[in-house]
């Protein structure tokens, strides 16, 4: 498989831009939980939000005038990934570029507002301006219009693993000689409704920090943003293998799937970028790592960046690629040292490979391995 990362971009609760956010991760910075509320109920939650000003450099485009936050995040990450790619591999023909957009909850802010009007005032109050923005592929459509992509554009929906499934789809698309590039974007926007839903699902905790690999799990903090990787046949970091994994019907079965994926991807020269987010996911990853690669150094970005669901796995891939490029790994935050895993003790590393594990909260699991 000749699949390489030619460019990357991200917008996260720690800011925008590959190097600035990476520097903050290396410094041990973490996002701050901001209160999030809604008129529909008294309860408040905390989420990691995109900082004010992070989108100030986003070029104006008519498509973004009324678009929801998720579309703006995606535009920022996508444009940054293309800019980085152009600086390294030269001009990119967008006519030979496909777009695969990974999302989990989609345009939840406008969806909630649209349906709220219906519930409160009846169908005649429904907004024809809001409705199109509630459709899952609206952000992908805006991004395609901004970038001028007139060919293949797919929106993939799934749980936290959807970003890796999107990369798998991109690798299949790049088997077709019609494409030289595939831009994979994962994005999500945070809203009170999502926090409430995950809270009622007993996966959310009320205050930061996320404490990965603790037993029993203490819960996650939602976040928002976007990540983008431009895949091509040229680039510094190679995607060696992708395991689209499988699905678990019961949480107790997740362990065996994560373990099988790690077994398939295992490499003694690899570090692991885990999806641990303070939920049952952590225990599955921990059990798999202890069994398959017990000496591997494990890092997880979610204590610093939060659980952004649709964007999370793409962020993990960016972290893994940065670790290989810079030969550094950030400190694992809030993990404690008692859990039986090895975390980065010093930030300098000599890894030439990195395994990304992504276990979603709603049945999907996948993994991939990068090398440099």
């Amino acid at each position: 498989m000749n699949l390489r990362i030619a460019g990357m971009g991200w917008i996260t609760p720690l800011g925008r831009g590959i190097d600035p956010v990476w520097d903050r991760l290396i410094r041990g910075d973490e996002a701050t939980g901001q209160q999030i509320s809604d008129d529909i109920a008294d309860k408040t939650y905390r989420a990691f939000r995109i900082p004010a000003g992070a989108l100030k450099d986003l070029p104006p485009h008519p498509r973004l005038r009324r678009a929801s936050a998720i579309s703006r995040f995606a535009a920022a990450a996508g444009l940054d990934a293309l800019a980085q790619a152009r600086s390294t591999i030269g001009e990119i023909d967008v006519q030979r570029m496909a777009l695969v957009f990974a999302v989990s909850n989609g345009g939840v802010i406008y969806t909630k507002r649209f349906y709220h009007n219906v519930v409160e005032s009846g169908a005649q109050s429904a907004s024809p301006l809001l409705f199109p923005e509630t459709v899952f592929n609206a952000p992908a459509s805006h991004l395609a219009a901004i970038l001028g992509i007139a060919g293949a554009s797919y929106t993939l929906v799934g749980d936290g693993a959807v970003g890796l499934l999107a990369i798998k789809m991109a690798s299949d698309l790049l088997d077709n000689e019609a494409f030289d590039f595939c831009l994979v974007v994962g994005a999500e926007e945070a809203d009170w409704l999502l926090c409430d839903a995950y809270h009622k699902w007993r996966l959310l905790k009320s205050e930061a920090p996320i404490e990965p690999f603790h037993e029993p799990p203490r819960g996650m903090i939602l976040s928002e943003g976007a990540g983008a990787v431009l895949l091509a046949r040229r680039g510094t970091v190679q995607i060696d293998a992708i395991d689209a994994g499988g699905n678990f019907s019961q949480r107790r079965k997740v362990n065996e799937i994560v373990r099988r994926i790690l077994h398939d991807l295992t490499d003694e020269h690899a570090c692991i970028v885990a999806s641990a987010n303070g939920t049952f996911v952590d225990l599955a990853e921990r059990a798999a790592i202890e069994k398959e690669l017990p000496k591997a150094i494990v890092y997880g970005p979610k204590p610093a960046l939060g659980e952004s669901v649709g964007a999370s796995a793409v962020w993990q891939v960016i972290v893994a690629a940065q670790a290989l490029r810079t030969k550094r790994l950030p400190e694992m935050l809030h993990s404690g040292r008692q859990v039986g895993l090895s975390f980065p003790a010093i930030d300098e590393t000599s890894y030439t490979k990195a395994i990304v594990l992504s276990c979603g909260l709603n049945q999907q699991v996948a993994g991939l391995r990068l090398s440099i």
Binding site: Y115, F136, A138, A140, T155, A197, W201, N247
Partner: protein, 408 residues
């Protein structure tokens, strides 16, 4: 078309067979009922019963009876707790695996637009009313679009990874097209693919708010068309490398031979009036199949009966095809969004099998701006070997697939 394998070596394309199919739509449950309804020119649109539509302009849709959906237990799970979309997919799997119990997919690619949306609506309404939320965990867990697919897979002992494509109304055809490309590349042997969508209030009201839905009959390509009606359903095809399918003695229903996809950046909800987006998708499907427009015997159009869609699609068809018979079976069942392309692919399989042209019902007068050959109101017998199925959607997604009757 020449393709690359993992070693970047150019390889010949693999042929892709449809070895089984299942469908559930307002036309009926299964291929036989679907064929009979198409032949009988049934209008399957009826007053909406699932939610209150009193304040909507449109009050009808193509609907599926819950009473006939699978109930009870499968693989140890109570189906009543699942979303009805899940039960639709399970009904479809029942038919598909009944035809080919040996089919073991490596991947599942399914299109949808709204997943378990009605559970999201239940949850929000309960929140709004400060009502009891004892069911909320079930609503939330079963709301995501991948859930019905994965649950249905588990019920049938399948654990293939799922790619759930949400490309609005083109989702089903995009899913089949992508699955076709994956098998054709030689990377996969067997893929389950199709689409599903269950009627939901949010989506119904949304199309009503856009005035895209009609209070009248759905009349695709008619001079006096006034909009779409919604529908629901599910359809899944089992795609397999043709050689492999033959080697194991599988029954082959048809062959998928081409796929085209384009993105129309004109507007979020309206197609470019020139029809350039649909045209590019159709041209690409022909090119991908190495076929000419003259070889196409029937077009199952997207044909939503909205002013803009039919004008753009009709123009593109007229530019590319000379008087090929065209119908939109949405006139019979409504627009089932993410399921539409998959259901219409099954309609095409039925047409190829029974050698007839499915009808475009409720048709009164051809739009004088459209120079196309509509199969008006009645199904009719015809010799057909290659059919084209179109799906276009919000966001400017356009998808076309070509299906061919397999020569004996």
């Amino acid at each position: 078309m020449v393709r690359f394998n993992d070693l970047d070596v150019k390889i010949a394309s693999t042929r892709v067979a449809v070895v089984a199919a299942g469908v559930i739509s307002p036309l009926g449950f299964g291929l036989d009922e679907t064929l009979a309804s198409l032949r009988a020119n049934n209008d399957c649109v009826s007053p909406v019963t699932r939610f209150d539509v009193e304040k909507c302009r449109c009050k009808t849709a193509g609907q599926i009876s819950d009473e006939r959906l699978l109930s009870g237990r499968r693989n140890g799970r109570k189906t009543e707790r699942l979303h009805r979309a899940t039960r639709m997919i399970m009904a479809v799997f029942e038919e598909l695996f009944g035809q080919d119990p040996e089919f073991k997919p490596e991947l599942t690619v399914i299109g949808t637009t709204s997943g378990g949306m009605s559970f999201g609506e239940d949850y929000y309404r309960a929140l709004y009313r400060h009502a009891a939320l004892r069911h909320s965990a079930r609503w939330i867990a079963n709301y995501p679009p991948q859930k019905p697919v994965i649950d249905a897979q588990h019920a049938f002992g399948i654990c293939a990874p799922c790619q759930v494509i949400a490309n609005a109304c083109a989702s089903g055809t995009n899913a089949i097209g992508h699955a076709f490309e994956c098998v054709r590349s030689g990377k996969y042997q067997r893929i389950l693919t199709g689409g599903y969508d269950a009627l939901s209030e949010l989506v119904f009201v949304g199309f009503d708010s856009l005035q895209a839905a009609t209070p009248e009959k759905c009349r695709p390509f008619d001079r006096d068309r006034s909009g779409m009606v919604l529908g629901e359903g599910a359809a899944v095809l089992a795609l397999e490398n043709l050689e492999g399918a033959r080697a194991r003695g599988a029954r082959i229903l048809a062959e998928i031979i081409g796929y085209g996809i384009s993105t129309d950046n004109h507007h979020l909800t309206q197609p470019d009036p020139s029809g350039s987006g649909p045209r590019r998708a159709m041209e690409q499907a022909l090119q991908s199949a190495n076929r000419s427009a003259e070889e196409v015997d029937y077009i199952n159009a997207h044909g939503t009966a909205t002013t803009f869609n039919d004008a753009a699609e009709g123009r593109a068809i007229a530019e590319l095809f000379a008087k090929v018979p065209v119908s939109s079976t949405k006139s019979m069942v409504g627009h089932s969004l993410g399921a539409a392309g998959a259901i219409e692919a099954v309609v095409c399989l039925a047409a190829l099998k029974a050698q007839f042209l499915p009808p475009n019902i409720n048709f009164l007068n051809l739009d004088p701006d459209l120079d196309i050959n509509i199969v008006a109101n009645n199904a009719r017998d015809a010799k057909i070997d290659i059919v084209l199925s179109n799906s276009f959607g919000f966001g400017g997604t356009n998808a076309s697939i070509l299906i061919q009757k397999l020569a004996a």
